[in-house]
């Protein structure tokens, strides 16, 4: 039996916000990279102080 919902193509985003999508993903990746880098710098400073 054919699922009638097949005939309801709905692939367009509800709000076509391409730039905001790209900015959101970029911000998340920048946050992850930044968090790791800051933690790395703090660890380096802690190691230097310990020595």
């Amino acid at each position: 039996m054919v699922d009638k919902r097949e005939s309801l193509p709905n692939l367009k985003p509800a709000r076509p916000v391409w730039l905001l999508y790209a900015a959101g993903i970029a911000a998340e990746i920048a946050f992850i990279l930044g968090l790791t880098f800051v933690a790395y710098v703090l660890a380096l400073l802690a190691m230097a102080a310990w020595r």
């Binding site: 039996m1 054919v2 699922d3 919902r5 097949e6 309801l8 193509p9 709905n10 692939l11 985003p13 509800a14 709000r15 916000v17 905001l20 999508y21 959101g24 993903i25 970029a26 911000a27 998340e28 990746i29 946050f31 992850i32 990279l33 968090l35 790791t36 880098f37 933690a39 790395y40 660890a43 380096l44 190691m47």
Partner: protein
């Protein structure tokens, strides 16, 4: 009492498996066109033979298995896991016919590695294979990242109430849209958009690095496919290290981290729900565990004094750890450098990152961020319960697209799959040790295979024992499908033999 499957059950399984294998055959048309375009006639013949084999099998099975019955849950799981085996058996034909594989088992390992987005390979003389075969390797991993069943649902299924069962059988369970066929198409819409942008960015970088335009385009597209699908295949044996380019590294990091995100997260952001990106339990979990494992690895590398300065150390450590954690498998160091330079602590940090892996319903593998998030929240809930009065009602929520109340069923589900992954990692590692490999190296490689990562410290090679090759192949398959559909297939086989 176990019921023996009836003829009707075999017909349903055969019919849908046939449809998916036809899809695999049609997919081979792409490398065939590339081979013809580059006048690689031998390779073109290999693909014509392979396409014929897939179409004969696919259409033949559908002709033999005519039925109007729709899929049940168990059928969906059996078709999903079984079709991956058939797709590997038949998809290995171009690899084997190319003459670059030591045996058919090696070819199957490489194809399963591609479908499951693992990235380990046994293919010999990678730097001199044809453009057509390279196209097939990367297309395999790109298609496998979205899921072979997702492809079939997108392009071949006009509508079936059983589609959702196939989709779940392939280890995905997010419905981005009410209808699962539309969900599959939404996944492809996001992936194809990234394909265009990623190929252009990497291709332009290749041009700037001095590659010829055609080569820059194909390398850009293939590296994109390896990155987005968290597959880790690259056209050169030195992987992304071959490019010696910070720009190439940065672009590939962006692509593979984005590829490791849950498709539900992409879809939320795509449709304007930007807050989801920072609130989602999987991205939070990923940020924390990536930071911790990178810190451990950098500590080991700083002590060993391998790299000349702090920035070089961070660049190398972050790339390998992010690649491992997203289960991509790209690397900018030589495979043996993990052993000779990174040492046991660096190896263990990378192993832990690979074991945790990427997000659920993404192209990645491993235990998955959502399970780590759920188990951590459950642990915190238990701690709160212990320090609260007995009459207190302690509830815990996690955020994944919406706030979800943490209940025992959710925690049990996360724990069950986590235990299954750890068991698979352990068994695969122990077999390596029994064959004489060092425990740390064997564990690294075993986790890399079972979490579908593909980083190698040198254990995986054409000369490794056949049993280990077979075990890695099975580990990649089980890890990618998250066990349930593989167990359903085993149960189906058992019921055929012992059922009444």
């Amino acid at each position: 009492m176990i019921l023996r499957p009836r003829t009707e059950d075999h017909l349903v399984v055969g019919k849908y498996t046939g449809k998916i294998i036809v899809g695999v055959g049609l997919l081979m048309a792409v490398p065939l066109v590339v081979s013809i375009g580059f006048r690689e006639w031998d390779t073109a013949v290999d693909f014509i033979v392979s396409i014929a084999a897939c179409l004969i099998f696919g259409f033949g099975t559908q002709a033999l298995c005519r039925t109007e019955k729709d899929l049940s849950w168990s059928h969906g799981l059996v078709v999903a896991s079984g079709s991956w085996i058939w797709a590997t058996l038949l998809g290995a034909l171009p690899h084997f016919l190319s003459g670059h594989e030591g045996s058919y088992l090696d070819a199957m390992c490489d194809v399963m590695s591609g479908y499951t987005t693992t990235g380990l390979y046994l293919l010999q003389d990678l730097d001199h294979i044809s453009m057509g075969l390279n196209m097939w390797r990367h297309l395999l991993t790109y298609a496998g990242g979205q899921g072979i069943v997702v492809i079939a649902l997108t392009f071949l299924f006009k509508g079936t109430a059983g589609a959702y069962k196939l989709y779940v059988g392939e280890g995905k369970d997010e419905r981005l849209l009410p209808n699962v066929v539309q969900t599959a198409r939404a996944i492809w819409l996001v992936s194809l958009t990234w394909l265009v942008i990623g190929t252009l960015a990497l291709g332009a970088t290749g041009l700037a690095l001095g590659q010829a335009p055609v080569r820059a385009f194909f390398h850009g597209m293939w590296v994109f496919m390896g990155a987005w699908s968290t597959g880790g295949f690259a056209p050169q044996s030195y992987n992304t290290f071959w490019f010696h380019s910070l720009t190439y590294e940065v672009i590939s990091v962006v692509i593979f981290i984005a590829g490791s995100f849950n498709f539900a997260l992409h879809w939320a952001a795509w449709t304007g729900n930007r807050k989801e990106i920072l609130r989602n339990v999987e991205t939070v979990s990923f940020a924390i565990t990536l930071t911790l494992t990178t810190l451990v690895a950098t500590f080991a590398l700083a002590r060993a004094g391998v790299y000349p300065d702090a920035m070089a150390l961070f660049r190398k450590a972050f790339y390998q750890l992010a690649s491992g954690h997203t289960t991509t498998g790209f690397s900018t160091i030589y495979a043996r450098a993990f052993v000779t330079q990174w040492g046991p602590i660096g190896l263990i940090a990378t192993t832990v990152a690979m074991a945790i892996g990427a997000s659920a319903c993404s192209t990645g593998g491993g235990i998955k961020g959502i399970r780590m998030g759920v188990m951590t929240k459950a642990f915190l809930q238990d701690v709160k319960r212990m320090i609260s009065p007995e009459s207190a009602v302690i509830t815990q929520k996690y955020h994944h697209v919406r706030d979800v109340l943490l209940d025992d069923g959710v925690v049990r589900g996360a724990m069950t799959i986590t235990v299954a992954y750890i068991t698979l990692y352990a068994i695969t590692a122990i077999v390596g040790v029994l064959y004489g490999y060092d425990l740390t190296q064997s564990a690294f490689e075993a986790v890399s295979a079972a979490s579908n990562t593909g980083l190698s410290c040198g254990v995986t090679s054409p000369s490794m024992p056949d049993l280990m090759k077979g075990l890695y192949l099975a580990a990649m398959w089980m890890g990618r499908l998250e066990f349930m559909s593989v167990l359903a297939l085993a149960g189906y086989g058992y019921a055929i033999v012992r059922g009444k």
